[in-house]
């Protein structure tokens, strides 16, 4: 599944870029209950309670920062598994600032495997899109409040 979007936020590009590369900050934009542990600057891991339809449970996940071009670009790969399912996400962020506003272009390639993909196939696209949009909307609000 491929998702992408663009939003504008009243914050500097440096601030926006650092928000999405800070595990403590970006994780606060995730609605689902979760934990996060910083392994080193480029590696994070944790757990998240999530699901699709009636398949809900705890997934363990790990993330690796694949690319850092401050304050313009970043790419992160996330792998998670649990509940007989697995997911792999490659998320790309592109940040540009103009007249006090920062435009964030994001894209995510999501690959789901296992029970969630099998049993929740009909709901998967919608649920994933909803959660992704919620994450970026939360991030935008947090950046503007800050």
């Amino acid at each position: 599944m491929h998702f992408e979007g663009t939003f504008t936020v009243r914050a500097s590009s440096t601030r926006v870029w650092s928000f999405f590369l800070s595990p403590q900050e970006f994780s606060s934009a995730i609605d689902d209950p979760h934990t996060i542990e910083v392994v080193d600057a480029d590696h994070f891991r944790g757990t998240i309670k999530a699901g699709v339809a009636f398949i809900r449970g705890t997934f363990t996940w790990s993330a690796t920062v694949k690319e850092r071009v401050p304050p313009e670009r970043a790419q992160m790969a996330v792998h998670g598994s649990g509940m007989g399912s697995a997911f792999d996400i490659v998320a790309t962020l592109s940040v540009s600032e103009s007249a006090g506003l920062t435009t964030v272009k994001w894209a995510a390639d999501v690959q789901m495997s296992g029970t969630i993909a099998t049993t929740g196939a009909r709901l998967l696209q919608g649920t994933t899109e909803k959660k992704t949009n919620a994450f970026f909307e939360n991030a935008r609000k947090m950046l503007e409040v800050a």
Partner: protein, 777 residues
């Protein structure tokens, strides 16, 4: 004089007395002291390397006693096991998983819930590998080799062909008209009510008993002995009541082996019962044939030749249960009800990253695929020639006087009257009036279609000279004991999964022995007591074990005649078997019933004769049997929604001599519904990553009473000349014949729009799309 419950009587099913009261005894009803429970960790990936399996957390889950991994089995040489097609399949993987939901590890615990918690706690680190879902791509150069363990470094499992290739090419070239269709028969699942499972238990003497959902208990016992190296007398397979099999309970699934290993490891009985999603996602599938068929005819509508090429997607291993000689099963019955002079069939089996199988889902080894192909393409050819499909079939059927008939692909059909069956179906449905109605409706823009399917089945494997599975010859057996009071018990090598064997076998014996079917107990499914047999699938029980019942009963009659002669003080030659008793010829009052003879067999048998009255027969049929039928389906299509509504469906079946008309009608009702399902509803689909989409009944659409039309059934009777009572078998005919009738009806409704074929399942979306593309909505 008729005997109570003899052949031809619609007596109620004996077994239903327990089923309708909820008193059936299924595997999951087996509860043993100290029994543990096994649950399975399954792969989320369709193809991945296993980097590691961490079981530490799982072993700390309260109640979890053991976790079994592939490397544990490898040490005992049990990580792989043979399939029934002499391929190999993993019990548990050591290095790579090959399909989504494949077994990866097994957790044993003191409760079902603890085992499930343990499964969640097992940590498997996978490295995803490229996935091959499309069998065509699997055959392309450079495709990942899915089975590097094989000597042949290709994803082509086998190539098989039969018939006259050059002759067929020439005949097609010289034909006035040739039609070609590409047909896909998608992967589907049997979805029986009861999922698979077992309970494995070793006794103090080391004897293994496995209560198991299997259609072929003896074959399983032998496979267990060969794979595990256990002495066969120390293995007892008990197949209790089974809630539907349809071919899905023929294979040996890893869960069975894991339960046995777990029982050995823990010293406790171990139960494994899969859940519904596991059943759909991991157990053997059916169909998945990509077919290209060409058919030729003369300008005046006489068939000339048939050429069929097929790609068979077998998943990661060939775990079908086809006879050894025929990797594509009996698909070469594809010439159907027609006397082609030339025909050629070739099939390629292919590996993909999907679950294994290719099982005979309520059809005798790929016969549904064959019947669908020929009945679809015959319809297309008739349309191209501008002929009515009924008229075209009538013109081309094998005539009744041509039987026994040798087909272009080597089968010898035993008997048939195809014209009679189709004529009867046409009369019942009032075919001519329907065609008139269709023409009028078409003028008004309404969509109505009439579809015909005149199929020929092929069932009853053996004979043993041609048919075996893993070298085990395909005969079947019956053992009868008549008790002193004239009651009897008979045991068989087959295993009913709902077919009603306890009733129909008793009816055969009642007819042969003159004992009420109520007084005959039938037992199957316990390898310690039943005679060896190959089990129940492919409509083989009546043609093989049913015949064995007749022959064994006649052996008893031979002895009974001598006892009767002794009692009546006449020569055995002076007696005749009439009105279900031995009578002195010409003196009907001087007679002995089987009950009187049986009592004498234990109390007053002739000097020099062994006491008792029993017999056994291992019946090796001289040929297969060839049931047939003609189905006519009438559909109306909603132009707004694309929904296909079956208005009428007339099914005329001919299964030879009918043992219990009520049971046969029930079989046909069930079979028709299972034929409707793939035609309009069911399909197992995978995304490009090998995720099975629709692994639950939320998405895998089984027909319910809402979707099922009122079936109209009728019969003709053309006995098999070589079966002792003329029976042919009927369990699968309707599943085999129905899909083509439905699809032909839908295509007929849309033919004036230029539609020649729609792949099944014909969903409302597919029809709606066609109507919009053709601007006919």
């Amino acid at each position: 004089m008729t005997v109570h419950g003899g052949v031809g009587q619609s007596i109620k099913r004996k077994e239903d007395a327990r089923f309708v009261r909820g008193k059936g005894n299924y595997v999951d009803d087996v509860k043993l002291p100290g029994m543990l429970y096994l649950d399975i960790v399954r792969s989320p990936y369709a193809h991945a390397r296993i980097r590691s399996i961490n079981i530490e957390k799982a072993l700390k889950v309260p109640g979890v006693l053991a976790v079994i991994r592939g490397k544990d089995l490898e040490a005992a040489n049990l990580a792989w096991m043979p399939t029934l097609m002499s391929d190999k399949q993993m019990v548990l993987p050591v290095e790579r998983v090959m399909y989504q939901s494949q077994e990866v590890a097994a957790v044993v615990a003191d409760s079902r819930y603890a085992a499930a918690d343990g499964v969640v706690a097992v940590e498997v680190d996978y490295e995803p590998l490229p996935v091959v879902v499309d069998p065509m791509k699997a055959l392309e150069p450079g495709a990942p080799i899915l089975r590097p363990d094989r000597k042949e470094q290709t994803n082509r499992i086998w190539h098989w062909e039969v018939g006259d290739r050059e002759g067929t090419d020439k005949a097609l070239k010289e034909s006035d008209v040739v039609v070609k269709e590409n047909l896909y028969i998608p992967r589907i699942h049997v979805s029986s009510i009861e999922t698979c499972g077992c309970v494995a238990s070793f006794d103090a003497m080391g004897k293994l008993t496995v209560w198991m959902t299997t259609q072929a208990p003896h074959a399983i016992r032998t496979v267990f002995a060969l794979v595990a190296g256990l002495p066969e007398q120390k293995i007892r397979i008990i197949s209790p009541d089974i809630g539907g099999g349809f071919g899905g309970k023929v294979p040996v699934y890893p869960g069975y082996v894991l339960a046995v290993v777990a029982a050995l490891k823990t010293g406790h009985p171990v139960k494994w019962i899969e859940d519904r999603s596991e059943n759909i996602q991991a157990d053997s599938f059916a169909r998945d044939y990509h077919i290209s068929a060409e058919i030729g005819a003369t300008r005046d509508g006489k068939l000339t030749a048939l050429r069929v090429k097929t790609i068979a997607d077998h998943g990661y291993t060939d775990a079908a249960a086809n006879p050894s000689k025929f990797p594509a099963g009996l698909f070469h019955i594809v010439t159907g009800s027609y006397p082609f002079e030339k025909a050629h069939v070739e099939v390629d089996g292919v590996y993909t990253n999907k679950p294994p199988g290719g099982i005979a889902y309520r059809c005798s080894f790929r016969v549904t695929e064959a019947a669908f192909t020929i009945e679809r393409i015959v319809d297309s050819l008739a349309r191209k020639l501008g002929m009515d499909p009924a008229e075209f079939r009538m013109k081309n059927f094998i005539p009744p006087e041509a039987f026994p008939f040798k087909s272009a692909l080597g089968w010898e059909y035993d008997s048939g009257n195809y014209q009679g069956a189709l004529r009867k179906a046409m009369d019942i449905v009032d075919y001519d009036a329907l065609r008139k109605e269709q023409a009028e409706k078409r003028k008004r823009g309404e969509l109505m279609g009439i579809g015909i399917s005149s199929f020929t089945e092929i069932v009853g494997a053996g004979p043993s000279h041609t048919f075996d599975i893993l070298g085990l010859k395909m005969f079947d057996s019956c053992e009868i004991r008549i008790h002193p009071t004239g009651k009897a018990i008979a045991r068989f090598g087959t295993k009913s999964q709902g077919q009603g064997h306890e009733t129909t076998y008793a009816q055969i014996l009642a007819e042969e022995l003159g004992i009420s079917s109520e007084d005959i107990a039938i037992e199957e499914g316990d390898t310690d007591t039943a005679p060896y047999g190959l089990g129940t699938y492919a409509s083989r029980s009546t043609p093989t074990a049913g015949a064995a019942a007749s022959i064994a009963a006649r052996k008893i009659r031979d002895k009974a005649q001598k006892i009767a002669a002794h009692l009546l003080e006449v020569s055995p030659d002076d007696l005749e078997w009439k009105d279900h008793k031995f009578q002195v010829k010409g003196v009907p009052d001087k007679a002995k019933t089987m009950a009187e003879i049986a009592f004498a067999a234990y109390t007053n048998h002739p000097p020099g004769m062994e006491a008792g009255l029993e017999a056994v027969d291992y019946y090796d049929p001289p040929n297969l049997t060839y049931p047939f039928g003609s189905y006519i389906c009438v559909v109306d299509i909603d132009k707004e929604t694309g929904e296909v509504k079956i208005r009428r469906f007339v099914a005329v079946d001919d299964c030879g001599t009918i043992i219990n008309p009520m049971i046969v009608e029930g079989q046909i009702h069930g079979g028709l519904t299972m034929g409707l399902a793939p035609a309009l509803l069911e399909e197992i689909h995978y995304d490009e990553n090998g995720n099975m989409l629709g692994g639950s009944f939320m998405d895998y659409l089984l027909p319910t009473a809402v979707e099922t039309p009122k079936w109209e059934t009728a019969k003709t009777t053309t006995p098999s000349p070589h079966h002792p009572i003329g029976a042919k078998g009927v369990g699968e005919s309707a599943t085999v014949g129905a899909p083509a009738a439905i699809v032909n009806a839908v295509v007929d409704a849309l033919a004036h729009l230029g539609v020649t074929h729609i792949d099944i399942p014909i969903t409302p979306w597919k029809v709606w799309k066609i109507l919009h593309e053709k601007r006919a909505a």
